[in-house]
């Protein structure tokens, strides 16, 4: 059996063990409601951060309107479950498809822009999505959508997170992913090496948007009410901070970023200003001293001791 495939299996088993432990603690009443909510938010944020990382970190397209796609997934999802009584899984998939299609439609023209122009354009698009939703009476307008069934639980978000992680990990470790990374590294050289840069930029954008849609669906069904105010560009910046903090181009980094940011947010929930000042200083200092983020392009599986253990388990010969 191929050692790469075995390693995947090992990772999956580790993932399931972690799931078992946490689920057990939840069932056993060892984790209170507050931390239960935060664990769910961490998983949702991991999906958001990893999917944004595919666009920003791996493909190098600076997008800061990710909350817009999350909003689409949320609203499509809640309409599907609340108004059409569709199963949760179908609602999530529908949300992902709609967000993905929107990502595709928006990405096609927008990704011609570069760097800071693209950043502002995506920010604007995210805001437009939010404002449009705010003006649709059918979904409650500015007041928000009420009466959402509480369908999200730890098992759902954890499963979705694992799927996202495996999808994006496998994607970036392939010729397709290398094409995206090549665009980030040097677009002109990538094109000269035969990479259809437009295609891969749009592909990354679409995949990223679709996963944000799933995260949105999970997020929305955690609460009784969602409103367009949950998806402002401040929310987008939150995801951006996770990605930048963890390392643009590292999945491990995004996971770590989502953890840290969610924890800080929870811990400082009653001091919102202090929390934001800390983020602000963290961003600035990071750019001064470690612009590549905590993990840079590294994955946890690349660190020698962990790699050795993994190799041993998966039976790879030295």
């Amino acid at each position: 059996m191929n050692s790469v495939r075995r390693r995947d299996l090992t990772m999956l088993i580790i993932g399931l063990i972690i799931f078992g432990v946490i689920q057990g603690m939840i069932s056993g009443g060892m984790i209170g409601a507050f931390w239960q909510l935060n664990i769910i938010l961490i998983c949702v944020n991991v999906i958001m951060a990893v999917s944004l990382n595919l666009i920003n970190g791996y493909t190098g397209q600076f997008s800061i309107g990710h909350a817009g796609f999350m909003a689409v997934g949320s609203y499509v999802g809640v309409v599907a479950t609340t108004n059409f009584h569709l199963p949760f899984i179908v609602a999530l998939i529908l949300g992902a498809i709609c967000a993905g299609i929107l990502g595709f439609l928006i990405g096609l023209p927008t990704l011609r822009l570069r760097g800071d122009y693209l950043a502002i354009a995506t920010l604007g698009l995210g805001e437009i999505i939010r404002i449009v939703i705010m003006n649709i009476e059918y979904v409650g307008g500015a007041a928000g959508f009420k009466g959402i069934p509480h369908l999200t639980n730890f098992a759902w978000v954890y499963g979705a997170m694992l799927i996202t992680l495996f999808f994006i990990k496998n994607f970036v470790n392939s010729s397709h992913g290398r094409a995206c990374i090549a665009i980030r590294e040097n677009e002109i050289a990538a094109e000269a090496m035969g990479v259809n840069t437009t295609k891969y930029k749009v592909m990354a954008f679409t995949i990223g948007a679709a996963f944000a849609g799933i995260a949105g669906g999970l997020f929305a069904h955690q609460f009784y009410l969602i409103s367009p105010n949950s998806f402002t560009f401040l929310a987008s910046f939150n995801y951006l901070i996770m990605v930048v903090l963890g390392g643009m181009g590292s999945i491990t980094g995004s996971i770590a970023g989502a953890f840290v940011v969610t924890f800080i947010s929870a811990a400082l929930a009653s001091f919102p200003e202090v929390r934001m000042i800390i983020y602000a200083l963290a961003l600035i200092l990071l750019m001064f001293y470690r612009p590549q983020g905590l993990f840079g392009y590294m994955e946890i599986t690349n660190f020698t001791p962990i790699k050795k253990v993994l190799d041993k388990i998966s039976g790879k010969e030295a």
Binding site: N2, V4, R5, D8, F166, F167, N170, F171, S174, S175, H176, G177, R178, A179, I181, A182, E185, N186, I188, A189, A190, E191, A192, M193, G194, V195, N196, T197, Y297
Partner: protein
């Protein structure tokens, strides 16, 4: 003549930038298997010619044909897929990636496995990935870079970066290789080795090569035919010996005008 159709042919190609003619009525051909040099003073339009051939620029007028088919208007990646690969004057490596990954990326246009096979890790994914890695390592060995395969490209010494760019271009499996100042910044020893390497890979890979170079020892040493460009126009064509003694070329390089 029919069986000896040129691999690449440019007919009356002109390129105008904001009213200025960067290239004017450019005509040339390269036969299969040739090693051609393109030289000329600074700003003569040499790199512009490369950019026209590789689709970075679209000619204002004229036609460029590869194997008898026009490639005008095609995107750079399409032209690469058709068999033209290049290096850059100011090295454009994927500098944060490993040496090996730099080469692996260039196999991109030959990969057949699709998105679903990628994500679910099935079918051709493993066989093709293994092949790519093996072939990349082989290429790196040819360019004496195999020991650096897992180093980050930007940490390589300058001469090695130049070699890596050539290795990467070869990974795209081109018929025609364009080298833009491959010896720039190299010392004479490195230049000499590079010369040998270009000769060798041409034979080994059955390549046709077009190179821009300022280092005359290299150009005169390995090119079979040389085109000389000045102000976007070809002023001379011939063998190295002919070019070195061509009064037009000497004028272009040294200037004839003198104050006394």
């Amino acid at each position: 003549m029919a069986e000896n159709k040129p691999l690449l042919k440019a007919e009356d190609v002109s390129e105008v930038f904001g009213g200025l003619k960067a290239v004017a009525d450019f005509n040339f051909y390269i036969n299969k298997g040739e090693l051609i040099g393109l030289i000329g003073p600074n700003g003569a339009g040499k790199t512009t010619i490369f950019n026209l051939i590789t689709g970075v620029y679209v000619p204002t007028t004229g036609d460029i044909q590869l194997d008898g088919e026009s490639i005008v208007g095609q995107k750079p990646y399409e032209i690469t897929q058709r068999g033209i690969a290049r290096t850059f004057q100011n090295i454009r490596l994927f500098s944060e990636l490993s040496v090996l990954d730099n080469v692996k990326i260039a196999y991109h246009c030959h990969v057949k496995y699709g998105l679903i096979e990628t994500v679910l890790r099935m079918g051709r994914y493993f066989t093709e990935e293994n092949e790519i890695t093996a072939e990349s390592l082989k290429l790196l060995k040819i360019f004496k870079l195999d020991e650096h395969a897992y180093e980050v490209a930007k940490n390589l010494p300058y001469g090695a970066q130049r070699r890596l760019e050539i290795a990467r271009a070869l990974a795209a499996k081109p018929k025609l290789l364009l080298l833009d100042e491959p010896a720039a910044g190299m010392n004479p020893q490195e230049t000499h080795e590079l010369m040998e390497m270009i000769r060798w890979i041409r034979k080994q890979f059955g390549l046709t090569v077009l190179l821009i170079e300022h280092d005359m020892s290299l150009v005169m040493g390995i090119c079979e035919r040389i085109y000389v460009l000045e102000y976007g126009m070809i002023i001379a064509e011939g063998t190295p010996a002919e070019i070195q003694n061509n009064p037009e070329v000497i004028r272009a390089y040294l200037g004839t005008e003198s104050m006394n």
